[in-house]
Amino acid sequence: MAKEIKLACNVIEQVEAICDKYGNQPGELINVLHEAQSLHGYLPEEMQRIIARKLHIPVSKVYGVVTFYSFFTMTPKGKHPISVCLGTACYVRGSEGLLEEIKRVLNIEVGETTPDGKFSLDCLRCVGACGLAPVVTIGDKVYGRLQPKDIKKILDEVAAND
């Protein structure tokens, strides 16, 4: 669960400005959430309360939407967010094994972030690089045609380049 974090004043203002930009229309909730998340990387409770207030909708509705869509998150991502493609093409070329290996190496589950905040792990469905299957993305970089034995080396490299 998200920790109680007090947002800085300017973040509050920014979130309010986003709501104003969309005319404080309840129908714009998802657009507002997208922009608010891009501000901060995630959507803490306080931010959702501001949005609920501005758009005149119950905060339970905002929270209901945030928890419905997998794109929205209430926990900060790691510095290097890892996504394992579990699209069918990657699956039949062995992406499940990559996922297992990443989980093992980093000792985290899907949706979690390593204690040092360096890596977070997620799955996604098809990055569209099926020619490179199986594919893992770390940050913006796409790693293709991987085998489980490549994982440790790649993660070590990414961590070392910090």
């Binding site: 669960m1 998200a2 409770e45 959702q48 309360r49 909708i57 119950p58 905060v59 339970s60 509705k61 905002v62 929270y63 209901g64 928890t67 419905f68 997998s70």
Partner: protein
């Protein structure tokens, strides 16, 4: 008109009729679970999501939900073909596979719609029960208990909380198998803007949402030799309690109820109706006071004055409209007025020390449970009303006390807090408080007897009703709303300066207390509410005294103890103040 065939029946129905409705007209009862339509009120939820009402429509590949499929000309519907029965049973088995199935000890046992349905579908095995259960959060508040592992996700509660009550404390959270209905951020209801109206409990088909049960506390106190335990029963309880014992809705069981309470060991049994008459004395005086100031040109007077008997409504405006909290009357609810008087006037008379006296209210209401816990209704931590039990809890206690309710003789309420008028009798229905107040306000203002005692203009079940009363040239404009979404509409107008009434009555539950969340479950049948409403007016009509200010024991109370309405003592004991409880 549309003609279709349902099983062996040829049915003729108007356009826009669902298969479910059409089937009812030929006595074909298709089972439903998520669907609820309390006709005549705005309580309606039809997500078509449980899929138990599926039927076979010739020419359609898939089975169709009867609750949401409209009849078409020439349609041929099979409601119990082998294919339908197999599918329906499988869906029920799936629901059971994610349900605790602890029916024997569930508080909803024998009143559970799922249980009834499973029996009806003849489910004898649970083929999917070795699977995972969706684990959800549980919570116990002063008024409501949420055991969300029992939730079957019909979403009736979400629908009433959002659409009917416009509160939005509950909402759907998450996605897929683990979806649940809960407050935001995993918070407890007590941390939200929940008003404890309890309508979520009233519509929950299973045991996921129930009332907080105070039976153990009550039995402890009744059996304790050094406690004097007294009961007060709300107006709407007496014509609903019988339903729990197989009587028809609207059957009045006042005398039996009093006997039962005495048999259970209550030392005295009084009537909240007495408190209701007191409320009219105070609220009526307040109405007159504000009207006089208004007519005298006072620009600061807060009009409309709004009723304040309904504790869920009070919670609602404290949360959502604290800026307007000077509009509602400061009069406490009848139950709290009763408690305050019982623990002072009556206790003094009887020589019972406050800490030995236990006041129990029997209410059609869940918010009353929360109301008891308000600090402003306590003296040195000792509440004016110790706790509140619902009509349903009372029925359970009667059964537990080995009392055969049907064969009980009638008894009268104890005096002096048991005397009441017809005005108090109608407090339990929407429009009742307004009518009771008008009877007194009219006579006080005009200084003469009402030509006709009934104010039919304010009666009914519509969510919003208005009337103009001619007070000798002065047009008194009143309106009556029930459900909190209608209250919100009124408050938004008030905030915008567009509300042109002098008096407004608000009740949170559909139909008022007759549809209260503590009443026997209506299971979506609005005829139950209508019968209770008729009973309230019949009770009033049958009373010798029908105006609160004519209640002799009330007159005596003021003469002996309180002084004048709105006087210092009355103000201290019978009035309250409101808080800004905005959730930030």
């Amino acid at each position: 008109m549309i003609t279709l065939t349902i099983d062996r029946h040829v049915v003729v129905v108007p356009a826009n009729t669902t298969i479910l409705e059409a089937a009812k007209t030929v006595s074909v009862e298709i089972p439903t679970l998520c669907h609820i339509d309390l006709e005549g009120t705005c309580v309606k939820s039809n997500p078509a999501s449980c899929r138990l009402c599926v039927v076979e429509v010739e020419g359609r590949g898939n089975l169709m939900p009867a609750c949401a499929t409209q009849c078409r000309q020439g349609m041929v519907v099979h409601t119990s073909s082998p294919r339908v029965l197999r599918a329906r049973k499988t869906v029920a088995e799936l629901i059971l596979s994610d349900h605790p199935n602890d029916c024997l000890t569930c508080s909803k046992c024998s009143d559970c719609e799922l249980q009834r349905l499973v029996r009806r579908l003849n489910c004898r095995v649970m083929p999917y029960n070795d699977g995972e259960h969706s684990l959800r959060k549980n919570e116990v508040t002063d008024a409501i208990v949420r055991d969300m592992n029992k939730c079957i996700y019909c979403r009736r509660c979400e629908s009433v909380c959002n659409e009917v009550q416009s509160v939005g404390a509950l909402g759907a959270v998450g996605r897929g198998f683990t979806t649940t209905i809960a407050p935001a951020f995993g918070k407890m209801l007590g941390e939200t803007n929940c008003t404890y109206c309890g309508q979520c409990v009233a519509v929950c088909p299973v045991g996921a949402l129930t009332e907080r049960d105070y039976a153990e506390e009550l039995i402890r106190d009744i059996t304790s030799p050094d406690k004097i335990v007294i009961a007060q029963t709300a107006p709407a309880v007496r014509y609903a309690l019988g339903e729990e014992f197989g009587l028809k809705p609207g059957a009045s069981v006042t005398g039996k109820m009093v006997t039962a309470l005495k048999d259970m060991g209550f030392d005295y049994v009084f009537d909240t109706d007495f408190g209701a008459d007191m409320t009219i004395m105070e609220e009526g005086a307040e109405i007159l006071d504000r009207l006089k100031k208004f007519l005298a040109g006072d620009k600061n007077v807060k009009l409309p004055i709004m009723t304040s008997c309904c504790p869920a409504w009070v919670n609602f405006f404290e949360h959502e409209y604290p800026d307007l909290r000077e509009y509602p009357s400061t009069a406490k609810s009848p139950a709290q007025m009763f408690g305050a008087v019982a623990k002072t006037y009556w206790a003094d008379k009887m020589g019972i020390p406050r800490d030995k006296l236990v006041v129990v209210s029997v209410m059609p209401c869940l918010a009353k449970k929360y109301e008891c816990s308000r600090d402003e209704f306590k003296v040195n931590g000792n509440p004016d009303v110790d706790y509140s039990i619902t009509t349903r809890e009372l029925a359970a206690l009667i059964r537990r006390s080995n009392i055969n309710f049907d064969s009980l003789p009638d008894s009268d309420y104890d005096k002096p807090l048991g005397e009441s008028t017809g005005a108090a009798a109608i407090f339990g229905t929407t429009g009742g408080v307004m009518e009771a107040a008008l009877r007194t306000v009219y006579e006080e203002y005009m200084g003469k007897q009402l030509p006709r005692i009934e104010f039919d203009q304010v009666r009914g079940l519509e969510g919003f009703r208005e009337a103009t009363i001619d007070l000798d040239g002065f047009e008194l404009k009143v309106c009556v709303v029930h459900t909190l979404s209608n209250a919100r509409m009124v408050m938004d107008k008030l905030r915008a300066g567009e509300l042109n009434y002098h008096v407004v009555e608000v009740m949170a539950c559909p139909g008022g207390c007759i549809g209260g969340a503590g009443q026997p479950y209506h299971h979506g049948d609005s005829s139950v509410l209508r019968a209770r409403q008729r009973a309230a007016y019949a009770e009033d009509a049958g009373k010798h005294l029908r105006k609160s200010h004519e209640n002799p024991d009330i007159q005596k109370l003021y003469a002996e103890f309180l002084g004048k309405p709105l006087g210092e003592k009355a103000h201290h004991l019978l009035h309250t103040h409101y808080f800004d409880k905005t959730i930030h």
